[in-house]
C-alpha cells in the first residue's frame, strides 16, 4: 500500500485508511478501505451449479451467490481456504479445484481481491461448521435456470454473475 495512507479506523473485516494529495495548489483527501481478501468457488455437480443463499445485511434481502469466504490473516494457501469453506459452509468435499480468475470488486477505493476457483463435488457430508450468526442454504441450478436469472437481473451479486457468465461464455 502507498505509504502515505494513514490508518484512521480499524474494523472487524476491513480497516479505513486516508491520505492527502496536492495538485495545482488544491488539496484532496482520498479514502482507502483495506481488506484481507476472499476466495470464491464456482462449484459444479454434473450439469448443475451449486450456490449458497443467505441474508446479506447491506442488500436487506436473501442473495444467491457462489460459495465465498474471507481469507484470514495467517492463511496463504488459497486452495486450502477454498476446500475448508466448501466443507464448512456446505459440507461438500471437492475435487478438480482449479484457478479461474482474480477480481477487484470495487477498484477505486477498496483493496479486496477475490480469487475465484472452479471445483466439482466429490461427496456430500454431514459436516458443516457455520460461524455464529451465519445461516446459508444450498441452491442447485441448471444452466438454463441460472442464465434466466441473470437475464432478468435476479442475480445481484457481482462476483456470482461474472463467474457464471464467463464460465458459459467459455463454451461450458
Amino acid at each position: 500500500m502507498n505509504k502515505n495512507f494513514k490508518l484512521m479506523c480499524s474494523g472487524v473485516i476491513f480497516d479505513f485508511y486516508q491520505n492527502e494529495i496536492e495538485k495545482n495548489g488544491k488539496k484532496q483527501k482520498f479514502d482507502l478501505i483495506k481488506h484481507n481478501g476472499a476466495i470464491a468457488v464456482l462449484l459444479k455437480d454434473g450439469e448443475e451449479l451449486i450456490f449458497v443463499k443467505q441474508f446479506r445485511y447491506p442488500v436487506q434481502d436473501e442473495v444467491i451467490e457462489i460459495l465465498a469466504g474471507k481469507i484470514e490473516k495467517n492463511e496463504t494457501d488459497l486452495k486450502e481456504v477454498a476446500k475448508r469453506e466448501c466443507l464448512e459452509e456446505l459440507g461438500v468435499e471437492i475435487k478438480n479445484l482449479n484457478y479461474f480468475d482474480t477480481i477487484r470488486p470495487s477498484g477505486g477505493v477498496c483493496t479486496e481481491l477475490i480469487t475465484i476457483f472452479t471445483a466439482d463435488v466429490l461427496k456430500y457430508t454431514d459436516t458443516t461448521n457455520f460461524d455464529e450468526f451465519e445461516s446459508v442454504q444450498m441452491v442447485k441450478m441448471t444452466k438454463q435456470e441460472i442464465i434466466e436469472r441473470i437475464r432478468t437481473n435476479k442475480i445481484v451479486d457481482g462476483k456470482t454473475a461474472y463467474a457464471v457468465m464467463r464460465y458459459y461464455n467459455e463454451g461450458n
Binding site: I21, D31, P58, V59, G107, C110, R151, A161, Y162, M165
Partner: protein
C-alpha cells in the same frame, strides 16, 4: 435469517466513504455489522461504449489500490437529481467526449454484498466515432483508449484487468452476442 437494524454508530467519516458499525438483531439476538457507505450515495454507473466501427472506447487511469494504470469501461457516481441513465450519459460525455446514438441498461449489481452499500448500474452505449473534448475534474486524469472489441474482451478476462465491473459488462455483452441472454 433476517437482520434488523437496531442502531448505527458512525466510526469514521472519510472524504468519499463513511464507516458505520450497526447493531443488528437476528432472531432477537444482537450482534454488529461493519458496513461502508459512500457519502451522499445514489449508486454508480458503468458504460460499455462501442463506436460505429465496433471498437470499444475505454478509459485508462491510475488506481491507487492497484498501484498502476488500468483500463476499464467508462464509469462514475450518480449525482443528485440524476437517474442512472442521466449519469451514464453525463459520464460518457465527460470522460471520453462521446455522443450517444443509443444506450440500454443491461444489469445492476452489488460488488460487495457482505459489507458495502455500493450498487452499480450497467449500460451498453453505441456512440459516434468522432469524440469531443473531455470535461474532467482537477483530480481526474483519464486517457481515452480505442481498442477492438475482441482485444478488450481478452483484456478484461485476463490477469491484467481485475475490474469486476468491466468483467461483468463485457461478459454480459458477450452472452448477448452469443444469444445466451
Amino acid at each position: 435469517m433476517k437482520e434488523i437494524k437496531v442502531s448505527t454508530k458512525e466510526m469514521f467519516r472519510g472524504s468519499l466513504y463513511t464507516f458505520y458499525r450497526d447493531t443488528v438483531s437476528i432472531d432477537n439476538v444482537e450482534t454488529t455489522r461493519d458496513v461502508i457507505k459512500l457519502n451522499n450515495y445514489l449508486g454508480a454507473v458503468q458504460v460499455l461504449c462501442i463506436d460505429e466501427f465496433d471498437r470499444v472506447i475505454a478509459v485508462k487511469q491510475y488506481r491507487h489500490v492497484a498501484k498502476k494504470y488500468v483500463m476499464s469501461c467508462v464509469g462514475g457516481y450518480i449525482e443528485l437529481n440524476e437517474s442512472p441513465l442521466d449519469a451514464a450519459v453525463r459520464e460518457v460525455e465527460e470522460e471520453i467526449g462521446g455522443e450517444i446514438i443509443d444506450i440500454v441498461q443491461v444489469g445492476c449489481y452489488w460488488p460487495l454484498v457482505a459489507y458495502s452499500y455500493e450498487k452499480s448500474f450497467h449500460f451498453v452505449a453505441k456512440i459516434k466515432c468522432e469524440l469531443k473534448d473531455q470535461n474532467l475534474d482537477t483530480f481526474e486524469d483519464i486517457e481515452v483508449v480505442k481498442i477492438s472489441y475482441d482485444e478488450f474482451y481478452k483484456y478484461v478476462n485476463s490477469e491484467q484487468c481485475m475490474s469486476l465491473n468491466s468483467k461483468l459488462i463485457m461478459n454480459y455483452y458477450q452472452m448477448f452476442l452469443k444469444k445466451l441472454v
